[in-house]
C-alpha cells in the first residue's frame, strides 16, 4: 500500500501598489509609456542620485498590515539587496530584511473543508526592477526602466497552506482585501499581483518538513492551482522512486503544464543585505497608525452588512456583490444615480454576470459607465421598454457603453401602449390561430400564453405585454358572446 503524503505550501505574494509616483522618486508609477519615458537619475541609478521615500507607500503598507491583522513595526528600516542584473539599475534593490514594516499577521480563509487561519509572517516594502526586452533577430537585449522603482509590497505567508484549493482561497481573500483598500488593482495577468509558491511534501502524520522548491512565473489562479498539483505529484514521484527532492527554484510553463529548474541552492546568490544608509529608519507612531485606520475604506464585511441594512438587500445579494470590488463599485455608483437597489443587484447578478462569462471577462474588466447602466435599468423598470428590448439594449451598453435612451429612440424600441395598434395585431393573431382560440375557449389556459407570445412577436417585442394580454382576453370574451 502506498504512503499518504501531505503538501506544505507557503506563498510569497508581490503586489504593485497604486501610487501615483514611484517609491523613491517623482516619476509616474503608471503601467506603460514609451520605454524609459518614466525615468529620472534616481530610478536610473545615476551616480550621486539618492532615494526619497514615498509616504503613500508606507500608508498602503500600514493599511494592508492592519487589514491582515499584522503588528506594525514602530521603527522599520530599509536594507539593500545586492545583485547584478541589467534590469536592476543600482545593482542593489532597496527592500526590507531585518525590520519589515508588518509582522505576525494572518487572514481567515474558507474552503469546502471549513474555515482556517493562514498566518502572515511579514509584509515588506521594496522597489520593482526594470524589464528586459530580448530581440531574438538582432540577438540583443534592451532594458526599459519604466517599472524600476514602482512600489511593491511582498506578503510572505507562513507554511500553513495544505492544498491548491486553500492556496487559491488565500490568494483570492488577499486580493479582495487589497483591492478594497485601493492599494493595488491586483491583476495577476498584468503582473500587478505575482505569487511564488514554496512547496514541499512529507509523509502524512510526520512533523519534519520535506525539502522545498520555489515555483515562479504563475500568472493566474489557474496556473497556481495547476502548478501546485504538478509539483506535488513530481515531488511524490521522486520520493516514491527513492530519489531526493532538490532544493531549487523552478519556472512554471503554463502551456506545457510543467515546470523547469531555474537554479539550485548551490547557485543561490549571497545578497549581502545591509541597512540602506541613504534612508533613515521609518518611525511609525501610534497616531499615524490610528490615522490610517480612521481613513481606511470600508472592507468587505462592513460593506456586506451595510448593503443589507441600508438597501434592504438579501444576504445572498450582499455576499455576491461584495465578492468582487468591481461589482460593489458598480452597484454603489449605479444606485447613487437611479436608486432601485434590488433591481440594480438583480441586473448585476444576472445579466452582467452572464455577459462577463460569455465574453470570458473578469469583473474588473467592465468598461461601461454606471450612468448608462442606470438609464437602462430605469427604462426597464418603468416599463418604457420591455424586458426583451432591455436585454438586447444592455448588450450594447456592455460592449460599447452605448447610451440606452438614444438606442431605444433611434430604433423605435419604446414599448407600444397604443391600443389601436395592439388591437389590430391581436385581431390578426386570433384570425390566424383558430385552433389556439378554440383550445383556450375549451379551457386550455396555456393557449393564452401562446397567443400573447404571437402578438408580442408581431409587435417585434416592443408591445406592453400586460396590455396585450388584457386586449386578447377582451377579444376572446367577445368571441364567446
Amino acid at each position: 500500500m502506498g504512503k499518504r503524503y501531505e503538501t506544505v505550501i507557503g506563498l510569497e505574494v508581490h503586489v504593485e501598489l497604486s501610487t501615483r509616483t514611484k517609491i523613491f522618486c517623482g516619476c509616474p508609477a503608471a503601467f506603460g509609456g514609451a520605454p524609459n519615458s518614466h525615468t529620472c537619475p534616481v530610478c536610473m541609478g545615476m551616480p550621486g542620485a539618492l532615494p526619497v521615500l514615498n509616504r503613500q507607500v508606507v500608508e498602503y503598507a500600514i493599511a494592508v498590515g492592519l487589514a491582515t491583522d499584522c503588528a506594525i513595526t514602530e521603527c522599520c528600516q530599509f536594507d539593500r539587496k545586492n545583485y547584478f542584473y541589467p534590469d536592476n539599475p543600482k545593482a542593489y534593490q532597496i527592500s526590507q530584511l531585518y525590520l519589515p514594516i508588518c509582522q505576525n499577521g494572518g487572514i481567515e480563509i474558507e474552503t469546502a473543508e471549513g474555515k482556517k487561519r493562514i498566518g502572515i509572517h511579514e509584509i515588506h516594502m521594496e522597489e520593482d526592477a526594470g524589464k528586459l526586452v530580448h530581440d531574438e533577430e538582432e540577438n540583443v537585449s534592451a532594458v526599459d526602466y519604466n517599472r524600476a522603482g514602482v512600489p511593491l509590497l511582498e506578503i510572505v505567508s507562513e507554511q500553513d497552506l495544505r492544498s491548491a484549493e486553500e492556496t487559491v482561497a488565500y490568494l483570492e481573500k488577499l486580493r479582495l482585501i487589497i483591492q478594497y483598500l485601493g492599494a493595488s488593482d491586483c491583476k495577476m495577468n498584468e503582473g500587478s499581483m505575482r505569487a511564488d509558491v514554496n512547496l514541499s511534501v512529507r509523509e502524512a502524520g510526520t512533523e519534519e518538513l520535506g525539502t522545498r522548491t520555489e515555483m515562479k512565473n504563475l500568472n493566474s489562479f489557474r496556473a497556481v492551482s495547476r502548478a501546485i498539483a504538478a509539483e506535488r505529484d513530481r515531488q511524490i514521484g521522486l520520493l516514491e522512486a527513492g530519489k531526493k527532492v532538490v532544493q531549487e527554484t523552478r519556472r512554471w510553463d503554463d502551456r506545457k503544464e510543467c515546470s523547469f529548474s531555474m537554479r539550485s541552492k548551490e547557485d543561490a546568490k549571497d545578497y549581502r543585505y545591509f541597512p540602506e544608509p541613504d534612508l533613515p529608519p521609518v518611525i511609525i507612531s501610534e497616531r499615524w497608525i490610528a490615522d490610517v485606520r480612521r481613513r481606511q475604506p470600508e472592507l468587505r464585511g462592513e460593506k456586506m452588512a451595510r448593503y443589507q441594512k441600508e438597501f434592504g438587500l438579501p444576504a445572498y445579494d450582499a455576499q455576491l456583490l461584495t465578492g468582487d470590488k468591481a461589482f460593489a463599485d458598480l452597484f454603489e455608483a449605479t444606485v447613487e444615480i437611479c436608486g432601485r437597489p434590488k433591481r440594480v443587484s438583480n441586473w448585476i447578478m444576472v445579466e452582467v454576470s452572464r455577459l462577463l462569462k460569455e465574453h470570458g471577462m473578469a469583473p474588473d474588466e467592465i468598461r461601461f459607465s454606471p450612468e448608462n447602466f442606470a438609464k437602462l435599468i430605469v427604462l426597464a423598470d418603468t416599463g418604457s421598454i420591455t424586458n426583451t428590448v432591455a436585454k438586447e439594449a444592455f448588450e450594447l451598453v456592455f460592449l460599447e457603453d452605448a447610451d440606452p435612451e438614444r438606442y431605444v429612440k433611434e430604433r423605435g424600441l419604446a414599448t407600444v401602449n397604443d391600443e389601436g395598434a395592439l388591437r389590430a395585431a391581436a385581431d390578426t393573431v386570433l384570425a390566424e390561430n383558430p385552433q389556439s382560440v378554440k383550445d383556450y375557449l375549451g379551457g386550455k389556459e396555456r393557449a393564452l400564453g401562446f397567443l400573447v407570445g404571437q402578438t408580442m412577436k408581431a409587435m417585434r417585442g416592443k408591445a406592453n405585454p400586460a396590455l396585450v394580454k388584457a386586449i386578447l382576453l377582451e377579444l376572446l370574451h367577445e368571441e364567446t358572446e
Binding site: M46, P47, S141, R272, P277, P280
Partner: protein, 492 residues
C-alpha cells in the same frame, strides 16, 4: 598684489566694489592653471569657455544688483566626484572617463546660485579611496610645497589647487579625512561639516553614512563663507538635516576666553611625528594665552576607529560602486561574451587596484556568515566611539588634534603598504564615524618646510565653536603662501 593671492572673501569684496571685474578674476585663475597645472596636476578638467561665459553672466547680475553675496564672481574648483551637468565627472576613475552627468550636485548648485564661477574639476584618489591622490586614473597630483611629495587625499586636487593659487577656493569631500588630511599636507584650511549639513545629492557616493561635502580655502573666514553658501536642507537627500542657524560667518570672532579645549592624548601618542606633536602643543599654548582652558584627556577606543571605519566604508562602497556595470553609462569592455562577461570585463578594466581592494573587502564583510563578525561588530564599535565623543563634549567645547600624524610623504611611498596607509587615517576617521564637524588649518612646518595641520573637532552642529576657535588661532600667525604659488617656474 596679484588677484590670485587674495582670499575668496577679499576677491569677492573687490569684485562687488567694481575694483576687479569677474572676467578679469576668472581670466587670472585660468592663466594660473595654465602656468602651474602641468607641473601640479590638480585639475582633471578645465572648462575655459564655460567659465568665461559664466563670468559675463555673473558680472551682469552683479551690475544689476541681483548678486550681492560674498562669493559672487569668485572662481572656484570642484572635486571630480561632485556631478556637474554636461561637464565630465570622472571620480578619478577610468570607469567614468567620458561620463557627463545630466544634473548638478546640490552643493555646487548652491554655489552657482551665489555667483561663484566653476573653473573645472579637481583630481582625486579614484572614487575618493586613498590618502595621496595617487590612485587617480589621471595621474598623481603633486604637493605644491614639494613637487616630489603627495598632496594627501582624497581631495588632493582641491587642496593643491587652493595652495597653488589656481582658484580662490574649492569643494572637497570627506569620508574619513579626505578634506582635512590633504588640507594639512598642503597648508590650507579645510572643513568637514556635521553629517547632513550639506546635501549629498550629486556627490558620487563612496560610503553614504560617512560622506560629507565641505570647503577647502585659504583661511577660516573663506571656509565659513563657503559653508554658509553650501549648507542647505535638501529634500532630495533624506539624510539632509534642517538647521536653523547656518550663519557661520557670525562666528568669526577672535575670542576664546573661557572656552574649554581638550587634547585627546590618544591622538598624540606613538606614531605621531615629533614636529607634528610640538606644533599641536604650540597651538594649544597660543589658544591658552588667549584665555582658553586647555586640558589633556583620554578619549579612548581610538584603536578601533580605523578597523571599524574600513569595515563600514568598504561595505557601503562595495554596494555603492556596484552600479558601475557598463550597462547604462561608464566604461564598457569592447569585447565580451554575454552580460556576465560584460560586467566582469568592464569592471576589471574600469576600476583601479585600490578600488578593487575595497570592493573585495566590502563584499567579504557583508557576505553570509561574516556579517555579524565584521559588519555588525563595526557598527557596535561606531556606537561606542560616538559615545566616547559624547562624554568628551560634555566637558569640552572643542578638541585639538593633528590633521595627520605626519607631514606629506614622497610620491609612491604610501601605496607600498596599504595597511600602513590606512593607519595614517587614525586622526581623522573617528570624526566621520561619529558624524562630527572638524576643521584642519595650518599650524607650522616641519624640518623639511612641509606644512603641519591642526585639527579642531566639535560636537554635532557646533561648527560655530570650531570656526571661532580656528579663527582666533589663525590670528596668531600669518598665512604662509607656498613658494610654488608665487614662483611656479622655480621648481622645488
Amino acid at each position: 598684489m596679484s588677484i590670485m593671492s587674495l582670499s575668496a572673501i577679499e576677491l569677492g569684496k573687490k569684485i562687488r566694489e567694481r575694483e576687479i571685474g569677474v572676467a578679469e578674476a576668472v581670466g587670472e585663475a585660468l592663466a594660473a592653471i595654465k602656468a602651474k597645472d602641468k607641473a601640479l596636476g590638480s585639475f582633471v578638467t578645465v572648462d575655459r569657455e564655460g567659465a568665461m561665459e559664466r563670468a559675463g553672466e555673473v558680472q551682469r547680475q552683479i551690475d544689476m544688483g541681483e548678486l550681492t553675496g560674498p562669493l559672487a564672481g569668485v572662481p572656484m574648483a570642484v572635486k571630480d566626484n561632485l556631478c556637474t551637468r554636461g561637464m565630465r565627472t570622472t571620480c578619478g576613475s577610468r570607469m567614468l572617463s567620458d561620463f557627463k552627468p545630466v544634473y548638478t550636485a546640490e552643493a555646487v548648485r548652491n554655489l552657482e546660485r551665489a555667483g561663484a564661477i566653476l573653473l573645472g574639476k579637481t583630481n582625486m584618489d579614484e572614487f575618493a579611496m586613498g590618502s595621496t591622490t595617487e590612485t587617480s586614473a589621471y595621474g598623481a597630483t603633486k604637493n605644491p610645497w614639494d613637487l616630489s611629495r603627495v598632496p594627501g587625499g582624497s581631495s588632493g586636487g582641491s587642496c593643491a589647487a587652493v595652495a597653488a593659487e589656481e582658484c580662490s577656493f574649492a569643494l572637497g569631500s570627506d569620508t574619513g579625512g579626505s578634506i582635512r588630511q590633504p588640507a594639512a599636507f598642503c597648508g590650507v584650511t579645510g572643513l568637514k561639516p556635521t553629517y547632513g549639513t550639506v546635501s549629498r545629492y550629486g556627490l558620487v557616493a563612496y560610503a553614504s553614512s560617512l560622506d560629507a561635502v565641505g570647503p577647502v580655502a585659504r583661511n577660516v573666514a573663506d571656509c565659513a563663507a563657503v559653508l554658509e553658501a553650501i549648507a542647505s536642507h535638501d529634500k532630495k537627500d533624506s539624510t539632509s538635516v534642517r538647521r536653523e542657524d547656518c550663519c557661520f560667518t557670525e562666528a568669526l570672532r577672535d575670542d576664546v576666553k573661557g572656552m574649554c579645549i581638550g587634547i585627546p592624548r590618544d591622538y598624540l601618542a606613538a606614531g605621531v611625528d615629533e614636529a607634528v606633536r610640538v606644533a599641536v602643543f604650540d597651538a594649544a599654548g597660543a589658544l591658552e594665552k588667549k584665555g582658553a582652558h586647555i586640558e589633556e584627556f583620554d578619549l579612548g577606543l581610538t584603536e578601533y576607529a580605523v578597523p571599524a571605519y574600513y569595515v563600514i566604508a568598504c561595505a557601503e562602497a562595495g554596494s555603492n560602486l556596484a552600479r558601475f556595470d557598463g550597462v547604462r553609462y561608464g566604461h564598457r569592455a569592447k569585447e565580451y561574451d554575454g552580460f556576465h562577461d560584460m560586467y566582469k570585463k568592464s569592471r576589471a578594466e574600469g576600476f583601479g587596484a585600490e578600488v578593487k581592494r575595497r570592493i573585495l573587502l566590502g563584499s567579504f564583510v557583508l557576505s553570509s556568515g561574516y556579517y555579524d563578525a565584521y559588519y555588525l561588530k563595526a557598527l557596535r564599535a561606531r556606537t561606542l566611539i560616538r559615545q566616547a565623543f559624547d562624554r568628551a563634549f560634555a566637558r569640552y567645547d572643542v578638541l585639538l588634534a593633528p590633521g595627520a600624524p605626519s607631514t606629506a610623504p614622497r610620491l609612491g611611498e604610501a601605496l607600498k603598504d596599504p595597511v600602513q596607509m590606512y593607519q595614517g587615517d587614525v586622526c581623522t576617521v573617528a570624526v566621520n564615524l561619529a558624524g562630527l564637524p572638524a576643521l584642519s588649518l595650518p599650524c607650522g612646518r616641519d624640518e623639511n618646510g612641509l606644512p603641519i595641520g591642526l585639527q579642531l573637532i566639535a560636537d554635532c552642529f557646533e561648527e560655530k565653536k570650531l570656526i571661532r576657535t580656528a579663527y582666533a588661532f589663525e590670528q596668531t600667525r600669518d598665512y604662509e603662501r607656498c613658494p610654488f604659488a608665487v614662483h611656479p617656474e622655480r621648481r622645488t
